[in-house]
Symmetry: C2
Subunit: 114 residues, 2 copies
């Protein structure tokens, strides 16, 4: 159980941790957009938009499609599926599992006596 989620690239979290990138991702949720539109709607300068999109692209979160002058970016499903799969590891925690806290306390007591 060393690599619990082989398909889950953990850098996905880092990429999504940046607020502007999260905004971009949520915006792209509504469908593919060009760099210019993304920058406009989010109040970003074009270079920063490009930079953030590059990070997202490097992480496989978005993909590009060249259309003449423009670059159309859109979301890729895989990272979100992987993230969802990773989250499932915590499902038993989320379900309010009765944790074995008392067992653990007993453990601590035993250690003390050794």
């Amino acid at each position: 159980m060393s690599g619990k989620n082989p398909g889950m690239d953990m850098t996905t979290l880092s990429a999504l941790a940046e607020p502007n990138r999260r905004d971009i991702v949520e915006l792209l949720c509504g469908g593919p957009l060009t760099v210019g539109e993304i920058a406009d709607r989010l109040g970003l300068r074009q270079p920063q938009a490009s930079k953030h999109l590059k990070v997202l692209s490097d992480n496989g979160i978005v993909e590009v499609m060249a259309e003449a002058n423009r670059r159309i970016y859109k979301l890729r499903p895989e990272p979100f599926q992987a993230l969802d799969s990773w989250l499932k590891s915590f499902r038993h925690v989320m379900e309010g599992r009765i944790d074995n806290l008392e067992d653990y306390l007993r453990e601590l007591q035993n250690q003390k006596k050794s």
Copy 2:
């Protein structure tokens, strides 16, 4: 649809973006642990373990319980539920939705003529 996920504190992602903190979280998945054990099992120095745990605690990802000399940390379900809920916003993307790319291209064409 301004605040898409009111319960979702987005700083959760930042907290989980750090590798050691992710390790801590996955370790705590197996049940509550003291600082010392966390540090031991992950090969961290105690101060760094404490610091990371503080970040996780500030973000509501873990909670502490004082037991004599030790502090027992354990996961809190809420952030994971919120994260899961946020991910659901992307479910249609994750399902490999047929995006309206052609519609968008048509839009771009129309703009060009105006």
